[in-house]
């Protein structure tokens, strides 16, 4: 299991290739990459704040929980903080398993929990304003399906 919390950009394709390499027991690798979206055409940058220390612990606990629920060969989570440009990758998860059902479900679970249980806060910066992104009720509700 690999958890990385970093300011630096990452290459999702290269990360995925490295993650998927050399695994004889794996038949399925699923990945998700979250990217900075400019919803209203006015975003200058996205600023992500986090809670150093708690962030790594919370993500590791979520990944551990995924590994108890599904038979996974490995899990990768990368999440950035700091100022991010439109189109830049924010985070990625990858899961490796013998079969695709476990890999898909675990990646979905990881994303739901990273959204509302990992201590990150997003701020949208436009020419006019700086606005903290509000958590959505739907994101909290999404946890109930697990």
């Amino acid at each position: 299991m690999t958890v990385r919390v970093q300011a630096d950009p990452f290459d999702a394709g290269a990360e995925l290739n490295r993650f998927a390499q050399g695994r004889g027991d794996v038949g399925a690798v699923v990945s998700f990459t979250g990217v900075v979206r400019d919803t209203h055409g006015s975003l200058r940058e996205m600023l992500i704040e986090h809670y150093p220390g708690m962030t790594e612990k919370a993500i590791s606990a979520i990944a551990d929980e995924a590994r108890t629920r599904w038979d996974l060969a490995d899990v990768l989570v990368i999440h950035r903080y700091g100022p991010l440009a439109v189109g830049a990758p924010i985070m990625m998860v990858a899961t490796a398993a013998a079969h695709r059902a476990a890999a898909f479900a675990a990646a979905d679970f990881l994303m739901d929990y990273l959204k509302s249980r990992a201590p990150f806060w997003k701020k949208e910066i436009t020419a006019e304003a700086e606005t903290w992104v509000a958590a959505k009720d739907a994101d909290e509700d999404a946890l109930k399906r697990w």
């Binding site: 704040e49 919370a58 924010i90 985070m91 994303m111 201590p119 990150f120 806060w121």
Partner: protein
């Protein structure tokens, strides 16, 4: 104890962290003490349904006891992913 603030809670209070001398028994008691200090604290803690709390870096409840806790963090609901 060390009290840390994130996102708009940090901005509203104006500092990222501070050392607080307190005998507060629970998180709610600590919030009541902080709110009584200054309007900026009162404003930040006006609606605790908009806040979350972590004790020693674990998500907790507002009625949790503070005995033995070294770090309390207040922040809005998280928006990771």
């Amino acid at each position: 104890m060390n009290v840390v603030y994130f996102a708009w809670v940090r901005e509203r209070i104006g500092i990222p962290q501070e050392t607080v001398e307190t005998d507060a028994a629970t998180v709610n008691d600590l919030i009541a003490e902080l709110r009584a200090r200054e309007p900026r604290y009162d404003a930040a803690f006006a609606d605790i349904t908009a806040l979350r709390v972590a004790l020693d870096q674990e998500l907790s409840d507002f009625d949790s006891p503070l005995a033995g806790v070294r770090e309390v963090a207040f922040f809005p609901p998280m928006t990771g992913g």
